[in-house]
C-alpha cells in the first residue's frame, strides 16, 4: 500500500500539473467550491421564487425543481455534455460541462433548503416587517432572509459535502478529478486495485467526515442559541 502512495501521491493530488492539465484531489475541491459558490445565489433566487406570492413565478420554478430532483445527476451531466455544444455552438470542455451540471443540480436542492429556511421562520417576522411599512421585497431582504440564511448554515456545509461526492461523477465524462486519477493509477499499477480504491475511499472519507463534523458542531451551536433549522428533513441527506 505504501509504495503505491510513494510513487503516485503527486499525480493523485494534482494530476499532470504543471506539465499538463490540473487534476486529482485539487481539481475535485476546486470543482466542488466553484459549484457551490455559483449555485448558492441561484438557489436563493429559486428558493424565493418557490415561496413567492405570484403564481406565474412559483409554478414554473416548482416544476423545474421537481424535474431536477427527480432525475439522477448523471442524467443532468449527460444532457449538459451533449446539449451545450449543440445549443451554444461552442465545444465546452469537461470542467465547464461538469460545473454547469453541478450548478443546475445543486441549485434545485439549495432552493429547497432556502424554502425550508424561510418557511421555518415564524410568520410574525414577515407580518411585523410588513406592518412597519416595508414592501414584500424589502421585508424579505432585510428581515426574513438574513435570519433564515443563518439557520441554513449547517445545511450549506452538508451540501458542500454532497457536492464533493457529486464531483466524482465527472469520472464518466473523463474529467481528471480524483476518482478518475485513481482509475488511471490502477491501470498503470494493475496489480493492486483493492489498495488503490481503499486509498481513494479514505481520501474522500477524511475530507467529508471532517466537514460533516463541522456541520454537526454548527448545528449544536445554533440550537443552543435557539436558531435550529425548523425542517431538517428538507436538507438533502443523500446524493451521489
Amino acid at each position: 500500500m505504501l509504495d503505491v502512495v510513494q510513487d503516485y501521491w503527486v499525480y493523485f493530488l494534482i494530476g499532470q500539473y504543471p506539465n499538463g492539465p490540473l487534476g486529482g484531489l485539487v481539481l475535485t475541491l476546486l470543482l466542488a467550491s466553484c459549484g457551490l459558490v455559483l449555485a448558492l445565489p441561484l438557489g436563493i433566487v429559486l428558493g424565493l421564487a418557490r415561496v413567492s406570492p405570484w403564481r406565474w413565478l412559483r409554478w414554473p420554478v416548482t416544476g423545474f425543481v421537481f424535474v431536477v430532483r427527480g432525475l439522477p445527476l448523471l442524467m443532468v451531466i449527460f444532457w449538459a455534455y451533449f446539449f451545450l455544444p449543440s445549443v451554444t455552438g461552442v465545444k465546452t470542455d469537461q470542467f465547464t460541462t461538469m460545473l454547469i451540471a453541478l450548478v443546475v443540480f445543486d441549485a434545485a436542492y439549495l432552493a429547497e433548503i432556502v424554502r425550508a429556511g424561510i418557511q421555518g421562520l415564524p410568520r410574525g417576522q414577515m407580518e411585523t416587517a410588513r406592518a412597519l411599512g416595508l414592501g414584500y421585497g424589502a421585508a424579505m431582504r432585510l428581515v426574513v432572509l438574513p435570519q433564515s440564511l443563518r439557520s441554513m448554515l449547517p445545511s450549506l456545509v452538508n451540501q458542500f459535502v454532497s457536492t464533493i461526492k457529486e464531483t466524482s461523477l465527472g469520472y464518466i465524462i473523463g474529467l481528471a478529478e480524483v476518482s478518475f486519477i485513481a482509475t488511471q493509477i490502477n491501470t498503470q499499477v494493475f496489480t493492486k486495485p483493492a489498495q488503490i480504491y481503499l486509498i481513494l475511499g479514505l481520501t474522500y472519507f477524511i475530507l467529508c467526515f471532517g466537514l460533516s463534523r463541522l456541520a454537526y458542531a454548527l448545528e449544536r451551536r445554533l440550537a443552543r442559541r435557539g436558531l435550529a433549522v425548523a425542517d431538517p428533513d428538507a436538507a438533502p441527506k443523500v446524493s451521489a
Partner: protein
C-alpha cells in the same frame, strides 16, 4: 431526418434496448432495497445498543459509508474486492454477471447506511417511557424493541425510507460506470449507435422521472393514509 424520431423509441432494436435497460434498473432497485432494509435495521439497532463497542461499530459503518461517494464504492466492489477473494471463487464470479453483483453490493451497503439513520431517528422519536414500560414488563432489550418500540417507530420511519428509495432509484444510474447494462448505459449505447442523443436521453429522462414521481406519489399517499399520531 425528422427532428424528433418517435419511431426509434416505439419499436425496433433500440426500443428493446432501452426497455431492457429500464427493466434492469428496476430490478437493481428492488433487489438492493430488499438487501438494504435488513442491514439498515441491524445497523440502527447497533447504534442504539446498550453496549458501547456495538454503538461504535454502528457509528463507524454509517460514517465510513456516507462520507465516500457511491462511485468510489462501486469501483472498489467491482475492481478491488474480487481480487481479494480466493482463486476458485474469483473464477466463478468472473464467469457470471460480476458487474451486476458488485453494483447490488455497493447500492445495498450505501443505501443501508442512510436508512439506518432514518430508522434510528424514528426509534428515538418514540418516548423513552415506552421502552422503560417494556423493560418493566420483563422483556429484554430485543424483545422490547420488537414488541413495543419498533411497531410504533416504523410508522414514523416509512416516509423518510420512501425518500431514501427515491435516492436509491436515482443512484442505480451510477452502476453504468462499471458496465451494468441498466437504463443509463443503454441510453448511452443507443446514442452512440444512432447519434439520436435527444431521443435516447429523452426516453431515459422520462423513465427516471416517471418512477421518481410514482415514488413521491407513494410517499404522499402514505402521509395521507397514515398520519403521524402524537401521544
Amino acid at each position: 431526418m425528422p427532428l424528433f424520431d418517435y419511431s426509434l423509441l416505439l419499436t425496433g432494436q433500440y426500443h428493446d434496448m432501452l426497455v431492457a435497460g429500464l427493466w434492469l434498473s428496476l430490478q437493481l432497485l428492488v433487489v438492493s432495497l430488499v438487501c438494504a432494509l435488513p442491514i439498515a435495521l441491524v445497523v440502527a439497532l447497533l447504534r442504539l445498543a446498550p453496549v458501547a463497542p456495538l454503538r461504535w461499530l454502528g457509528f463507524a459503518y454509517v460514517e465510513s459509508i456516507r462520507n465516500i461517494p457511491l462511485l468510489a464504492h462501486m469501483l472498489f466492489w467491482y475492481f478491488g474486492a474480487p481480487e481479494l477473494l480466493p482463486e476458485g471463487i474469483k473464477q466463478r464470479l468472473y464467469e457470471g454477471h460480476i458487474e451486476a453483483y458488485s453494483a447490488i453490493v455497493a447500492l445495498s451497503l450505501y443505501t443501508a447506511a442512510f436508512m439506518a439513520e432514518d430508522i434510528r431517528s424514528g426509534i428515538r422519536a418514540i418516548p423513552a417511557v415506552q421502552f422503560e414500560a417494556g423493560r418493566a414488563l420483563g422483556f429484554g432489550f430485543l424483545g422490547t424493541m420488537r414488541r413495543v418500540v419498533l411497531p410504533q417507530a416504523l410508522r414514523v420511519t416509512v416516509p423518510p425510507l420512501i425518500s431514501q428509495t427515491l435516492s436509491l432509484w436515482k443512484n442505480t444510474s451510477i452502476a453504468t460506470v462499471i458496465g451494468v447494462a441498466e437504463l443509463m448505459y443503454q441510453a448511452g449505447q443507443v446514442e452512440s449507435a444512432t447519434f439520436r442523443s435527444f431521443e435516447s436521453f429523452a426516453f431515459a429522462s422520462a423513465a427516471y422521472l416517471t418512477v421518481s414521481l410514482a415514488i413521491t406519489g407513494l410517499a404522499s399517499w402514505y402521509h395521507h393514509r397514515f398520519p403521524v399520531r402524537t401521544l
